[in-house]
């Protein structure tokens, strides 16, 4: 699997993304700067976390309009797989590659902890190594992770199996009290209509080494390698 990682001014999780992609695929991803208008020919494009453009205006707003994101949108339309984590998810909603928006966490606090997540759909190129309903733990680190979409959009996402992950407790119970940040229907990650674009707030790339405190994130990367190699 060949991959690329997009870099914006203020991105800070690129090395974690590179480490996870390299561990799973055996080859180093190519780095692409935000001003580029063309992308290398790859199977997967990852938009890592951070604070692109200092989160000015809205998280992901500036990055969403940058030259490289026009190229990413073209690649998404052509069927290339795209994964956006944290700020990457915010950027994907700002470019309208994914519906909805990520707002300030409902309790207004920055959250930095390990979160339990329920795999809602295990029949995607990103999650096939997991079982449906499985509980995994990835770290979360965000201030603007409160997923919002109108109820019609939410119903469509659910109906089409496009909710990939939800915040839950250790037993997989999805409830208001297991909702970390106020997201509508506990949504932590969603897919686009074609299933080739995934956006998620939690960080699977920070759960790939026992020293991280867990290796649950490996499944996501090995799913992609299996599907895209």
């Amino acid at each position: 699997m060949k991959s690329a990682v997009i870099l914006f001014p203020g991105t800070n999780r690129e090395n974690d993304a590179i480490a996870a992609l390299e561990q799973a695929s055996g080859s180093k991803p190519q780095l692409v700067w935000h001003g580029e208008t063309e992308l290398p020919k790859v199977d997967l494009i990852m938009i890592p976390g951070g604070f692109s453009y200092g989160d000015y205006l809205r998280s992901g707003a500036m990055a969403g309009k940058s030259p490289v994101m026009r190229a990413v949108a073209d690649q998404a339309k052509a069927g290339v797989s795209i994964i956006g984590v944290c700020n990457g998810f915010q950027i994907l909603t700002e470019t309208h590659l994914l519906p909805g928006a990520l707002m300030r966490n409902a309790h207004l606090k920055f959250i930095c902890k390990r979160a339990a997540l329920k795999i809602e759909n295990a029949e995607t190129r990103f999650t096939s190594k997991y079982d449906a309903g499985q509980v995994v733990k990835y770290p979360v680190a965000h201030h603007d992770g409160n997923y919002f979409a109108d109820s019609e959009t939410l119903d469509r996402l659910e109906g089409e199996g496009r909710v990939a992950l939800r915040y839950c407790d250790d037993d997989g119970v999805v409830a208001p009290e297991t909702n970390l940040n106020g997201s509508q229907r506990n949504i932590a990650g969603i897919l686009n209509e074609k299933g080739n674009v995934l956006g998620m707030m939690p960080h699977p790339e920070n759960a790939i080494d026992p020293l991280h405190g867990g290796i649950d994130g490996r499944g996501l990367f090995s799913s992609m390698v299996e599907a895209l190699s």
Binding site: L57, K65, T93, P99, G100, A101, R104, L108, F148
Partner: protein, 80 residues
Amino acid sequence: MKAKVYITLKNGVLDPQGKAIEHALGALDFGGVNEVRQGKMIELDIAESDEAKAKSQIEAMCEKLLANTVIENYAIELIG
């Protein structure tokens, strides 16, 4: 031409920052505040001097960048 753009959250979109301000006002004994909604205001100075053209330019700016119309409304005030 100078203009101000007011960006506010749509009705029905929860505004946790507005809620926090509302609670803080209550804690400072300002009674009778029923609801607080927070937004932002952006000032622009653009070269276009024709009002109608200026307004349509700024509308395009709002649609493309200044507002996220999934969650936000915008209002444009031309100052001249």
